[in-house]
Symmetry: none
Subunit: 140 residues, 2 copies
Amino acid sequence: MNTRSKYKTKQREILLGYLKDKSGVHVTANDVCEYCKNQGSSIGQSTIYRHLESLVDEGIINKYIIDANSPACFEYVGEEVHEDGEVCFHCKCEKCGKLIHLHCDVLKDIKYHLFEDHKFELNSMRTVFYGVCEDCQIHT
Amino acid sequence: MNTRSKYKTKQREILLGYLKDKSGVHVTANDVCEYCKNQGSSIGQSTIYRHLESLVDEGIINKYIIDANSPACFEYVGEEVHEDGEVCFHCKCEKCGKLIHLHCDVLKDIKYHLFEDHKFELNSMRTVFYGVCEDCQIHT
DNA sequence: CTAAGTGCAAAATGTTTGCATACTT
DNA sequence: AAGTATGCAAACATTTTGCACTTAG
């Protein structure tokens, strides 16, 4: 469980830089692999997985598990502490599998409503809306 | 994607019966396997997975993914037909595992909002809100 | 009779682990 | 020098798939 990293290595810098650069976007372990490959500075997948785990542990990135058979997604959330405010939702298309990332004020109200009226403290990080995305509604 | 079952088979009956019996409890694909084995009427694992998928598709059971490396959990939520207007949401407590059913007008608006503003057609049967229930907020 | 369901074993997937080597401090 | 980090390949666990066979309607 205690997987925090202690040394500053080239691999960690590259990985963290990439994640930071992709702030607000979902990134899979494989995306990182690909990126590194294309950069010439390839990083072993075990190293990538190990760092991703550390970073989640350290609270620098978040991990989202959308579906059993899709790869987990990671997202940079920063090294600063995040107080309240930040509410982010995910929509998963049941047809094409696309993952849509929503930062929306109206949706923030859901969290408030659930808590006030239903005494349910929503974990918006983990909650995923299933449905059909725009593209798939057309191509039916 | 259209995996609804059309025939009534012995295997489906056994599986559904077991799930119904375990209402309110988490059940993994493996649990079903074990149960069947112990009942003498063993069912192939592919059949189990295929039925579980159908049942999720039909909205009779819900699927919960807790962690990438743990098996998915399933839970019976009922066979009643939900008419078009009926929007029903489920809240799952991350601590005690309790499943809460919500019929709420405010929540209906979410569906409308997602469609109007994000062009996303929500499947409310399949969407689960994760969070912490009232009881578990107190006992922390 | 036909379409759907079954079950086995093999494949696929995403992730983790063992271990020898290389790097940080 | 000592403790970490790395990377490969092999191991893992869960879930899916191909295919021949059976069964429900």
